[in-house]
Structures are given as C-alpha cells and as structure tokens.
Amino acid sequence: MSVETLIDNFVKEHEADLTALPDYSSKDFASDQDVRWCPGCGDYTILKQVQNAMPELGIAKKDIVFISGIGCSSRFPYYMDTFGMHSIHGRAPAIATGLKTSRPDLTVWIITGDGDSLSIGANHFTQLLRRNVNVNLLLFNNEIYGLTKGQYSPASPTGMVTKSTPFGSIDHPFNPLALSLGADGSFVARTMDRDPKHLKEMILRSHKHKGTSMLEIYQNCIVFNDGAFELFTDKKSRPQEAIYLEQDQPLVFGKDNDKGVRLNGLMPEIVELGEHYSKDDLWVHDEKDSTKAHLLSRFFEHPANGQGVQFPRPFGVLYAVDRPCYDEGVVAQVKHAKETQGEADLDALIRGGETWKVK
C-alpha cells in the first residue's frame, strides 16, 4: 500500500484546487470586520501597508496565514481577509512553527508586540529566530502595554513613569534588534509606522527573505505612550536622528546629507562631510556583516553616547543572511526516510520484532 499520509502528497492534493492568481488589489485583503483600534493608532498605517504589500507577493490569499498572540497589535489577523488565528499571549511563534513545519506550502506571518514577544513570549520569539523557521514576524513596538491600559513593557526605557511604575521603571529594557541578532536571527530589520513607503518596502523585503524575518516596527500608541518615537518620525528631527540603511551605500544622514558615520576600528564615529571627510571615508553598509549589524543594533546605547554623542537610529535591513530553515530540514528528513527506509508497512510496524503464536 502506498503511503498516502505523507506531507508532500497532502500538499499536492491541495494544490489541485489552485486557480490562476487573481489580480488582487489591497482591498481584497481587507476583511469585513470593523477595525477597532483607537483613532490615530499607528496600527492603522501598518495594516494599510501590509494590505498594500500583499498583492505584490504573488501569493494566493488561500495560502496566506496571519498568526498573532495577545495585545492591541494581535487583533490584526481579524482585519485581513486571509486565513488567520488570534491565539494566546506570546505563543504565536510556537503556533506558527507548528503550522509552517507541517505546511511548508503556506506563507505565514506572525503579528506581535513588544509585550507579547519580549516578555511573556520572549522564549518562543528567540527560539523561532534560532531555528530560522521560514516565517515573517512583524514586531509592533510601542514600548508600552496598551491593551491592559498603560503598564511599562520590556521595551520601555528605564525611568519611564507608567501606571505600574509611578516612581519610574527600574527595569533595563530589551533591545529587540540586539536580542534578535543574539538569537542568530537571519533577517533583522527596523522600520516605523510614520514612513509608509519604507514600511511597505521592508514588509516586501521580509517576505522575500527565506528564514525568519524579524521586522521591528516603531508604532506610536497615541493613548498611553504618544510621541515615543517622535524624534525619528517627526519630519524636522528625522534627518538628524534617523539613518536609513541601504546595501553597499555609505552611512550618510543629516538635514543636507552633511553627516556620516565612519568606523574607527570597531568604534563608530560621527563625522561632518566636507573639508576633512568625504563619503569614501564612511562605513559602507553590508547586510551580511554580522559584526557591523551588532554595532548598528546598539547605536543608541553605544559607549560613545556617554560622551554626549547622539547617534542616529538605524532603519532598514541591519542583517540578512541565508542559512538553513528548520521547516525545510524537517520536510527533507521525512522525504529521506520515505525514500530510504522502504515501504511504510503498518502491519510490520505493529508486529515488531519477536512474536509467537498461540493455537
């Protein structure tokens, strides 16, 4: 008897109902549910840009799944007209791992927040990155607990006064990108809700990457932590405070692109372009360089900051490398077992080794 239960056969069977990919517009990805975030919430732009990006993936809606945990951002799947699961607090990476490993044919997105992924689900978050399951994770970081109405989160800065920290938080925060790099994430990037163009570009890049794509999105919570990222999102301060990373391009920033970052050994330095330094002297961005990625992830907590140097916050892809995905490895093992271990004979399995007859 042939083995009909193997995963690849299963997938094949379901590919039979694949029709030609429709000409989707972003509206095709909006569900019939009313969106219930606070007016002005950064989540709206993220939803919009995800819906805008979807038609460009070239993937049928039926093959897309959004999985979330708990929190404001985790309501996201309800608003997408794809398959979706709003699961339990912090566990979306684990659920997504089970789904993607058993159904590698699906395109799986994880929607999570700083509370969901950096505290209750920090274990699953890091294990997902370590395993490099081929899924995309959008981390909505607003540095606050919104849904439970305003407690500090593991991403809130030390000293932050919130409902649960009336005298200021004494917790040292997680640096999500450094944490992701530390967990050997194969794709680590940052964007913000207030730059829709860059946001969409990063969503598409995340999809293209094979492996776990970790995209941190600075998202403004208008009610409990308004303006947390204003320095980077405000058009006036942004040129000074944010630096957009592009592959093979020097690290240039400033109102008139008049500043840059150069490396003095392993020490980043801010330099004025012109008289003493030209673009040729600057640090050239290389997504495949993990040492540089680690430096970039820690720009704002760099020791040089102690000397009154304010480094610009990097946005874009800090790190992107190819390495084997967990789900591919699992499928390969099943395939190999099927090819090399002979027929899957259930009766032989039940019979086992030694038997005896009673007459």
Partner: protein, 623 residues
Amino acid sequence: MSTIDQIRDDVTIRFAGDSGDGMQLTGTLFTNTTALLGNDLRTLPEFPAEIRAPQGTVPGVSSFQLQFGSHQILTPGDECDALVVMNSAALKANLSLLKKGGIIIANTAGFDKKNLNLAKYPEGINPLEDGSLSDYELIQIDVNQMVKEALADMDLGYKDQDRSKNMFVLGLLYWVYNRPLDSTIDFLNQKFGKKKPEIAEANVKVLKAGYYYGETAEIFSSRVIVKQAELEPGTYRNITGNEALVLGLVAAARKSNMPMFLGTYPITPASDVLHGLAKYKKFGITTFQAEDEIAACASAIGASFGGSIGVTSSSGPGVALKGEAIGLAVMLELPLVVLNIQRAGPSTGMPTKTEQADLMQAVYGRNGESPLLIVAPKSPADCFEMAFEAVRISLEHMTPVIFLSDGYIANGSEPWKFPDSKDLKDIKVEFEGPRHSEDEPFMPYRRDDRLVRKWAIPGTAGIEHRVGGLEKEDVTGNVSYDPDNHQKMTNIRRDKRDNVANNIPLQEIDQGSESGDILVLGWGGTYGSIRTVVHQLRKEGMDISHAHLRYINPFPKNLEKLMKGFKQVIVPEINDGQLVRLIRSEFLIPAKPINKVKGRPFGVSELKESITDLVNNKIAPAF
C-alpha cells in the same frame, strides 16, 4: 543434592541492583524470553528519578518485577518468589517484597564493608551472615568473581567486565526457570555485534556461564517449570504501554490518511512517546521537540489548524503548563490529542512513580467552561486501542481529547494479541471544500447535527477565515461579547462534548453479573489488580462485579443505569478520590472510595482486603 522439577502456575521474580547494574535491561530480556515461551505476564519496572543516584545507596536502587504464569496474569505480583540482589542496598530496599520462604540470590561482592556502609547497615552487621535471612532460601554467589573467571581468556577492562555481571544472574535465572538463551543471545549480537563484537562475545559468555553455573553447582533445590498460558489463539508480541501508544497513534494516522505532528517537550515518563514517534517519519509523522511545554502544545495546535493530527505528549506538570493552549483548542474547535502519562504529584512529585491523580486536572483544569474528551487505557496493550480512539474522536468531533495513561502501564508490559491493520476502523475526516465568489459565504462555526464544525484548512480557496481565543459568534465565528451568545456557545461546547457519548461503546461489565450487591468501578491502570481481586472474591462466593471505564468524559450513556443495578459501588483509585467524586456529583450515587498513593499500583492482597473490609463494614469509607 539433586534438583527436582517443580511445576508452578505462576511465579513472581524481582531483579534489584544499583542504577548502573542494568537491572531494567535484565528484567526486559527475561520478560521477552518469557513472553516468547507463551506465558502470560505483567511487569513493573521501578527506578529512581536520578540517572545515577549515589552508587551503592538505597535511593540508587533500581528494580524490575515481573509475574508470569500458565494462566491469565494481570498484575506484576504482590510478593516475589525470588529476589535477585546485586548489592546490600538492593536487599535492604526490597526484602519486604519477598515471600517467606522465597529465594534470595545475592551477589556477595555487593556485601563488602563499603557496600554495607553505603546501604547503612549497622557497623559489623552483614545480613547474609547474621542469620536474619533464615526464613528464606539464601543463595550466595560472588558474581563479580564468576564474571572475572568466565572472561579470563578475554582482554577486557574492568569496566566492561563489571558491566556484564547482570548477564550472569540472567543466565542463572534462565536455568532456574527453564528458559532458553537464544532470544537474549540474538539481542546481544544485534546490539553489540557490529560495533563492539568483543562486548557481545563477553556478554554471551557470561550469560552462558550463569546458566551452566545453575546446572552444575547444584545450589538450587528445585528447578521451576511454568507451562504455556492458555491465551486466546492468535499471534502475540510483548509490548509496553508507551510502545503501544506510539503504534496506536501511527495506526490512527494511517487509518485517517492524515499527517501527524507531535509537538512535545521531554518529561518522565512520557519521553518514550517522542523517542518512538521520532523513528516513524516514513509514516508521515513529524516530531518537534519544542522549547517548552507551552510551545509543544501550541505547535500542535498550529499543525492542527493546517490540517495535521496535532498531538502533544507530557505528564502532569507539563499538562498544567499546556492548560491555556488546550483551552484555545477548545475554543477553536480543532482536533488535538493531549497525552498525559501521569506520575505522582503535586508539583514535580515523584517523576518515576505512578499515580492517577490528574483526572480532575483533565476534566476541570482550565479556565472557563472548557469541556473536552477524556479516554484512559486500562493496560499496556490497551494503550494501542485507546490512542487510536483518542485520534478518532478528536478528528471526528473536532475537539481536544486527553489521553490519561500512567507510569505503571506506560513502562509495564504484557503480551499483546495485536490486530491486523485491515480490521481497524477507518477514521472519517471531513474538510470544508473550496468555494467560489458566487457561492454562499463560508461560515466557520456552522455545525452538523452532532454540533461539529468542519475542518477548514489554509490552502482551500474561498474559505479564508479567522479563528481565535475570543468568544465566537454562533455560525459566523466573528468575535462576540454578546451575553446571550456566550451562554449559547457555552452550551453548544458542552453539548458537543456530550454528543460524543453516541460515538463511543456502551459500558460493559468486565466480570460478574449485570446487577447485584457490589460493583467495583475502576479506570485506567488499576484494571489488572481489580480484575484479579474480583475474580478471587467471586470464587469465594461474593456477589461482586467489575466494570472498567475507558471513556470518562463524557461517561458512556448506560453508566448511570448500570451502577444503579447494584447496592454498592466501590471505586478504587491510585489518588485521593477523583473518579469517585465525579461519579457522586454526576449521578448522586453514594459510591465508596478506596485510595492509595504510594507511587505503586494496588497489590492484589491489599486491594482484596480493602474491598472485603468495606463490604463487611469493618472500615468506613474515608469520605
């Protein structure tokens, strides 16, 4: 002294030694040989939770007991006829389990000053020499010396020599109980033959040396013959509960034509389920060793959402961690099989000791009204059928099912008349099909008359939908906080669970009449002890019957009527009274408890005494 042959109906033997002495392997090999000879049997492996507890001490003792016989054997035996002790700690820990007049085979090398000290015998006291064992037939052998001599012509290090000494006692017992050596020799050659042929050779030599020592040394007054048991005709194999469980899962995957996904985290005594399933990838089975118990369960739910049979395996502490995720599966109405191989609790408890104290956890141990299904195998081999049933019910009813095994039946073994796969039920799975834009919109929580929704898996066009842990609106599955809807959905989830009673067998009386004075109602691993006791009491003229529950939530439809046919219902359990409380609250029947929590199954004589005393009003029920 000449040896005479003595025919016995049944024999209980116990191998005991230090954790490193290989007693579990010795017991298992004796069991396999005995099973192949056609005896019925039951085993009880007992070992410390520590991998290598301090050598030579009482906490480090590992034991393996088996009863085998020429008639039906349902328990590993209360007291042993023969006790093998490899050191003084093993004697100290196990002597109370030996019958008066029983045989002690003691390795004298384990009774030197150092070992006696480690076992905490008083200074200057050696139980082998002080006459304290005069009630027993004491056989003293310096096994270490025997092994050394047997291997004199081989160039083996001390460690390898020492490691083969369990084969000497195994060989000796094979001689005493008239067992052939070939199955064990085959095993040794298979295990070591290729990589370490000298180790295989040494072990076989020592095994034979033990056998021939029995034959020539004339130290035993008799040699025991236990004839074949009159088992039902058919082909048999020996199997442990966890092995049978694994096979039941694989069989159910095949019979449903579905891929299976096990998400799990190592825990005693459930890890063998992972070890077993991990080998069967060619049957379309994926195993995932997750980062924790929660992720293990969550990954299984993710796989189930995608159209696999999601399975998660654990023991009580792990199931406690999975609770929230199990609740999610209840809300999502997805298949999920949760395997709980129970152990003594609470908290970490006694990981390698058995208990049945997670029944209430299975029924009630989640937040909110969270009804699900519970099945419980009654013996090692029954794990096959009940695992199959767990998958069948889960898939056919789109619901989580908890499978409650325990350490005793998981590690214990018995002969199994295994089925032919073509005789196993087919499992019907219904998927929601693709829809076109002109079709009626898909309603994820639309149900059939059994209240079961269809499995709607990603990859199916036109049925894109969202599920989640928030309360669902009836039919549409949209998020709803409507008070009446919550009442309705709570009722639906309960009724859906109760409807499964139409898809499980009616409760049967295992032994005795359909009505009468006393019904002993058991569940799970107590089956063998209860059956044996009820058999004896019936022979002695008591009007007593036995029924054993394998489906607990919901109960079989006829259970109430059946229990009401008896004047008294007695519920023995290895816990502090859980099924008995469910029975009382569900049916208002004054069922009486018999409970024990010592990390071991009921002994036949103790259970018989408890039941007799309760029936004769010599003792009042504990509550």
